[in-house]
């Protein structure tokens, strides 16, 4: 029997993988990908909670939809920034984006 814990565990694993990707990759686009995985795992959680805790109220679904919307916006903006930086620096490596330090 598949229970809530299974889904949560899956989501946790996916989140960790996404975090690993977001933290340990050089390319900015890859970082964005990692963040997408993290958002997806959050969505799994939302839907799973909804399914197992309050199935009659689809609040979890609604929130998942909002997360998807935000993710779409985030990717659009994120990629635009990446391209914009690429134009200036001819690089998409996150390590190079340290103008804000000091």
């Amino acid at each position: 029997m598949i229970t809530l814990e299974h889904y949560l565990l899956l989501a946790a694993a996916l989140f960790s993988i996404g975090l690993f990707g977001a933290v340990a990759k050089k390319n900015a686009v890859a970082v964005l990908m990692g963040i997408e995985l993290m958002l997806n795992s959050v969505n799994i959680n939302l839907v799973a909670f909804n399914r197992f805790l309050m199935p009659s109220q689809l609040v979890g679904h609604v929130f998942a939809v909002f997360v998807i919307v935000v993710a779409a916006a985030e990717v659009a903006i994120g990629l635009a920034i990446v391209i914009s930086i690429y134009r200036d620096k001819f690089s998409t490596e996150v390590d190079n984006l340290d103008w804000l330090k000091w």
């Binding site: 975090l19 977001a22 933290v23 970082v31 984006l97 340290d98 103008w99 804000l100 330090k101 000091w102």
Partner: protein
């Protein structure tokens, strides 16, 4: 018919959408759509008016339909923010709708001639339709919120239409001015209805009136505050002193716009609001006093300015201000019957006056009355309709203006505001004087400049004639039909004609006309000489009491001066202290800045590391860990 009243605002809205999105390129179709929609609205509103009268729908027992629109209650059964979209039909709104739709129809017909050949032809009609929609929404609303939406939309339309020729810098500036000035009032209005909602838990007019009449526990001070805040709306929208400054400038828009928005309907929305919410105002005598006096002051003050203006539209604009003051005053003294009566008659004849002025401007492309002269021969229809309008405005028996103005004077007198009564009577005289100054200078006498005036086309003169008929008969007809039995508050009331008051006001008005005739037609008195002698007063009036300048000065000195003060304080005092701290901290921070690596991933690592540590800490029994 009455159940289809919701169609009245809908037709213009459809027209607007169609014109803007589909037929903008085709002028003919756009006009056709706008006109057809207005006529449809007019027909429905006549039907509604007739049915209202027949079915005996009264102010106490209005017809009301509402649909739930927005329900922001957090939980079922607990009252939260619930907003309805509804219609409220009582004689007040029925009459008002008839006024709006009929005038709008006529103005649209008139505009076909006036706007002919303008590049923004279709856009104009789209805006007009949208205005009609907004205004009708405002009128038909059954709650404050809906009304506020209409209120803001008419403001928007006003902005768009004043700035219709946005390529003209003065028009753009005037539009901005109108918009910004109105923000003051609208802000107050909004605060007022929010406060209202907080206190009463509803926006609905009927519910409000029930609550108030049952004497729900609410302190008089609160009610005064609410009503004063709400009154800020009319103050700006109906251009009452001291927020009147935008209206004269609003004359930058096309003349039909001035006619419908800034004379007949939109500016009267303030009065309508006062009438609508009278149940609240009447609960606060202080507010009533403020309203009455502001109305009276505005009436007088605007009339004096109108005495010396040269621009035909500005004279009419100040006249409008003055008459709006009358209406507000009438409501302030406690008679919505008189106020609304004057609103109705005024709408017809002032609209006509503006349209006549538009006809003149259209013919000679000049607005200075001293550049006109001798138009009566060239433009007979315009001239004679204008004269009828002026007579009506001056309150000459038996024209429409006589009845309504007399009503106001009467209620003022009866309410015991003697000072205001005399002021109003004086204003009546001044009104007659400046109107006939305008007529004698512009239409009679010799031709003063090289203009080739010609009578306007029938599309333009037709509405003039129709309105002239209204201006002549409306007042009498409404008195006969028992206006007081229709629009009232509390109990039906209409004062019988008091011969004394009627005679005094008529005499003063006639005196004004004669004076104008002597000065400007017969030239018995040399105006220049008098202008020289009364130089300071003339200058004061010519510059509209320097109100604009005062506002500018206030802004320049008070606001900027305060700003300067705060700035100095900030720089010298606060910064001095802060810098002291800052220097200390900066040096400390200089050491800490090295943790700012600038690497996003580093930050992310730190954040999640911190999360892990916090969870671990919470899990350990030392800190009373929550997790077993």
């Amino acid at each position: 018919m009455i159940e289809n009243a919701w169609l009245i605002p809908l037709f213009p809205l459809i027209a607007y959408v169609l014109i803007i999105f589909l037929t903008k390129k085709s002028k003919g179709i756009s006009v056709g759509i706008a006109l057809a929609a207005m006529i449809a609205s007019l027909i429905v509103s006549i039907g509604v008016l007739v049915e209202t009268l027949q079915k005996g729908i009264t102010m106490e027992a209005p017809y009301q339909v509402a649909v739930k629109w927005l329900n922001l209650s957090p939980v079922e059964n607990i009252t939260g923010l619930q907003i309805d979209m509804g219609i409220l039909i009582d004689p007040l709104s029925a009459v008002m709708m008839f006024v709006v739709t009929s005038i709008a129809t006529l103005v649209i017909i008139y505009s076909i001639g006036y706007m002919h050949g303008d590049p923004g032809f279709s856009r104009y009609f789209a805006y007009m339709s949208f205005f009609a929609f907004s205004m009708l929404l405002l009128v038909i609303a059954n709650n404050f919120f809906e009304m506020f939406i209409g209120w803001e939309l008419v403001g928007l339309c006003s902005y768009l239409l004043i700035g219709f020729w946005f390529e003209k810098p003065s028009a753009a500036a005037a539009a901005n001015k109108a918009f910004i000035t109105n923000r003051w009032g609208d802000f107050g209005f909004m605060l007022g209805i929010i406060l209202l909602f907080i206190n009463f838990g509803t926006f609905n007019f009927t519910e409000l009136s029930q609550i108030v009449q049952q004497g729900a526990g609410i302190s008089a001070a609160t009610l005064t505050l609410i009503t004063l805040l709400i009154f800020a709306g009319p103050l700006a929208k109906s251009a009452q002193f001291p927020l009147h400054v935008w209206l004269p400038d609003a004359m930058e828009g096309p003349t039909p716009v001035s006619s419908i928005l800034h004379a007949a309907t939109m500016v009267a929305a303030g009065v309508y609001l006062l009438a609508r919410g009278f149940v609240l105002f009447q609960g606060s005598p202080e507010t009533m006093l403020v309203i009455a006096y502001i109305g009276g002051i505005t009436a007088f003050f605007a009339a004096t300015i109108a005495l010396v203006q040269r621009d035909i539209k500005r004279i009419l604009a100040f006249s409008t201000l003055s008459q709006l003051g009358y209406m507000v005053m009438a409501i302030g003294v406690g008679s919505i019957t008189a106020g609304m009566f004057h609103l109705t008659t005024h709408a017809f004849f002032k609209c006509m006056l503006f349209l006549g002025a538009g006809s003149v401007i259209h013919a000679i492309h000049d607005q200075d009355i001293f550049n006109m002269g001798g138009l009566s021969k060239k433009m007979p229809i315009t001239t004679w309709t204008f004269v009828i309008g002026a007579l009506s405005l001056a309150g000459i028996f038996p024209l429409a203006g006589f009845w309504s103005k007399d009503e106001i004077l009467l209620v003022t007198h009866e309410a015991g505001f003697t000072g205001l009564y005399w002021l109003a009577t004086l204003v009546a005289g001044m009104t007659a004087f400046y109107m006939f100054r305008l007529i004698f200078v512009a239409f009679f006498g010799e031709k003063r400049s090289d203009h080739h005036a010609h009578e306007s086309s029938p599309v333009m003169t037709g509405p003039l004639i129709v309105l002239a008929v209204f201006a002549v008969f409306a007042g009498w007809a409404m008195v006969k039909m028992g206006y007081g039995q229709m629009v009232y508050f509390g109990h039906p009331h209409q004062a019988e004609i008091n011969m004394g008051i009627a005679l005094i006001s008529s005499a003063i008005a006639l005196f004004g006309i004669v004076l104008a005739w002597l000065i400007y037609y017969k030239k018995v008195i040399d105006t220049d000489v008098w202008a020289q002698k009364l130089r300071p007063i003339y200058a004061l009036l010519w510059n509209k009491y320097y109100i604009d300048e005062i506002y500018q000065w206030l802004f320049d000195h008070v606001m900027l001066g305060l700003g300067w003060l705060f700035n100095q304080n900030d720089r010298k005092v606060v910064d001095g202290v802060a810098d002291g701290f800052g220097d200390t901290i900066r040096h400390t921070g200089g050491l800490l800045r090295f943790i700012q690596t600038g690497s996003l991933q580093n930050y992310a690592l730190v954040i999640f590391g911190a999360v892990i540590i916090i969870v671990l800490l919470m899990a350990t029994p030392v800190l009373g860990g929550v997790i077993k």
